[in-house]
Each structure stands twice: as C-alpha cells, then as structure tokens.
Symmetry: C3
C-alpha cells in the first residue's frame, strides 16, 4: 500500500489516479471520478465559467456536460510527477481526447493536464487541475487555453525541402 514517504510507490499511485480519471470519464462514472479529487478541489479547464468547478460536488455536476458526446476516449501519456515534500506533488500529463457527437461529428484535442496533488487520509487526491492544449482538430471548439510555446528567433527562416 502507499506510504507517502516512498516516491516510487507514490508515483505509481498518482499515475493510477490520473488514468482512472480518464477511465471514469469515458464510462461517465462521475461519482467515482469526483472521488479522485479533494473535497475542496479547484478545476479550471479554461476561462469560460462553464469550465470551472470549485469543489468535488461542483466538479461532478459540471462534468455531466460530457453527456453531450455520444462516446469519448481519453488516452493519457507523457506523465511527469514532481514531489514537493512527502505529501505534496505536481504533475503534467498529455491527453489525446477523442469525442463523437450524437450526429457522428467528431472532435480531437491534444491536451495537457496540469495538476496539484496532496496525500490526504486515504491516499493521493487531485487538489487543483488546470488544462491547456497543444492543439486540436477543426471539430473541437471548447475554449481551452493554448499551451506555452516559444516563438522563433527573429529572422528565422524555415528549411526547404523537408515536407514534399
């Protein structure tokens, strides 16, 4: 079982937590999903008030919006975890999220979850989640912020002949 003093066990537990978020979301088991978060969690998927939830109950209510999709698939990868002491951690992960609407329309987002986590009584919980995205396809319209990306130095010129 988890001990907050063991970084390796903890990283595995945190990875499982992040994966379970995706699994419960695709199954729309929103009560189990909300239990992955602390009671006073703060979840901010973007600046639109519809994308912000304060507290576990609000999160569960808010994510019922995902029923506007007929099916979804959230594939998580690139999980990085950093520990700030024995009971605090931060995480970044990538999600390839596919959505299918009731009319057969689809939307893919290449997102990132940016999490704060705490070890509470019964295990690690997400206390704050933010989201941004590296990109999306044309079907995805939700106003999630752009991930940071450096601009080219002034005067940079693209190489020729790579993309033909």
């Amino acid at each position: 079982m988890a001990e907050a003093s063991n970084g390796h066990v903890d990283q595995r537990e945190i990875e499982n937590l992040l994966i379970d978020y995706c699994r419960y979301l695709d199954r729309m088991e929103l009560g189990k999903l909300a239990a992955l978060f602390s009671e006073d969690c703060r979840v901010i998927y973007g600046p639109d008030p519809k994308l912000i939830a304060n507290g576990r109950l609000a999160l569960e209510a808010s994510l019922s919006r995902m029923w506007r999709w007929r099916r979804t698939a959230h594939h998580l990868s690139n999980i990085r975890v950093w520990f700030d002491g024995a009971d605090q951690a931060r995480s970044e992960s990538y999600v390839h999220a596919w959505h299918e609407g009731t009319g057969g329309n689809t939307a893919i987002v290449y997102g990132r979850y940016l999490d704060q986590l705490s070890y509470l009584n019964n295990g690690w919980k997400i206390t704050e989640r933010r989201m941004d995205m590296n990109g999306c396809d044309r079907g995805f319209k939700v106003p999630i912020p752009k991930a940071p990306r450096r601009e080219p130095p002034s005067g940079w010129l693209p190489p020729q002949g790579l993309d033909r």
Copy 2:
C-alpha cells in the same frame, strides 16, 4: 528479475508484456506475439467467430488476418494492473490503433484490452484477453463490442455555448 511476490517488479513486467504485444503485432512477428500468451489462452476480440481464438496456436493463426493491412500502429496507454494474489493479475489498457489498407484507406479504433494474467514457469503470460472499444472512426468496420458507458439521468439537458 521478476519475483511473483514483488508487486512493483511484476507491474513493470506486465506492462512490458502488453507493450510487446503491440510491438510484435505492428512488426507481424506472430510467433513472438503468441509466446506472450499461455498455451491454453482464450482471446475474444468480439462475438464474430473470426475474432475468437482458443489457445496460443489458434491465436497465432488467427492474427495473420492483420496482413490484410499494409501497415499498423498500436499505441498503448492507460495501463492499470490489479493483483489477485502472487501469481494472478487483471489488467485494463487503452489502445489507439491505426491501420492502413493496401489501397491507402485508413481505420482508427480507440480500443480497450481487458486481460487476465498468470505467473507461470517462465514469467507472466496473458491467459485471457477480451477487447471492447470506446469508439472508432468511419474507416473501422470490425465488430468489436462497445465499452460500457452510463446513460445520462432522465431529464438531463446539454449545456449551451461550449462548442462554438
């Protein structure tokens, strides 16, 4: 090396096993792929008899069907493992599987592998594999069952203004 009593080493070995399935399938090294399964394995990718194999040899023969694709790419993520004692485990994982036909047509499935595993003489083996899918694109026609997803509560109404 693996010891069946060490959950951490075992989880890593099981992850490697699941990853190797994808690697060998994309390379069409079906003998090596079949060796990841127990001799008496049961593999059920769907209700169609063509998608069911009883035993390692039948599995190897059955998966030759993948040669109808010119190229494939099976990207595995969301791996969860649960141990039922020292030598029994269950696993769920997500696969983003891309296929390209000989005519250039493509098909993507957002699938899930649902596995039973046993620690046998020479390591962990998959003893039973089932598959379902969260979804697929229009190019994918194989009759894989749908993953479970809860229906919205009666009277649920979609939020306005998120997808524009």
Copy 3:
C-alpha cells in the same frame, strides 16, 4: 536520486528523459531539449542530411526546423528499456506526433524512437537516437524510414467479412 545500479529507478529516469524530449519539443525549448543528449550525440531521423545531427549543438540548431509548424503534440507510449550493464541502456518507444502548419494543414506520424543511452556524470543521456515510423497520414511528407514489418507467407489469403 538515481543510482546506476538500480534498474527500477533508472527505468523511471529514462522514461522521464524520453517524455521531456516531447515536452520540450512541443514548447520549443530547444536548449533544455538538447541537454537531454550527450555532447557527442548522434541523431538520425532519416537518411536526408537535414534529418541528421552530430552533437548536441547541431541537434539544437537542427530542430529549429520544427518552427515551420505552428503547433505540435508529441504523445509518447510503448516505452521499452533494456539495460546493457549499469551505465548503458537501449530504448524503443512509440510517438503519436501531430503537427499543424501555419495554413491550418495538419500532419500525423506514427513514429518510433530507437535510442542508445549512457549514464554520464549528471544522469542518463541519449547518446544516439534513430527514428522510423509505422505509418503516417497523407499530410506528413518528411522522409522518415519505414519500421520493419514481416511480409505475409506466400499464398496467404485475406479473411473475408471482417471489415464491413
């Protein structure tokens, strides 16, 4: 912290290294990206001289080519690591890499990174990286080599009725 004699800690460190490559590439933090490689690294993404870099500085300069894309998302999975002694390792991993051009055009490659790694003074570094690909969509034109895949045995016939 890492000790080169502990395979588990080392595998985690190598996974983090491979993930950080993707993170820094999508953020275009090329200095941090280059620091993941040994000074004398050799990076060969394909036979085209534009895809080859000898040394960390050349790699950093070479990858400025990625600014021809407006946004990218490199999702890493299927990470396998093999140790050849305490301070040498090899790795294979899959990358689902999405690119968006300035005109809105997109390109997806289903690639594989084939790495050699060494434990140097300050941790694991990539000393050689090669790349090939299981496939790509029609938007992707970079001449990355094909991953190996066995041909069907002579006389093999595709099964009927699976793809309808």
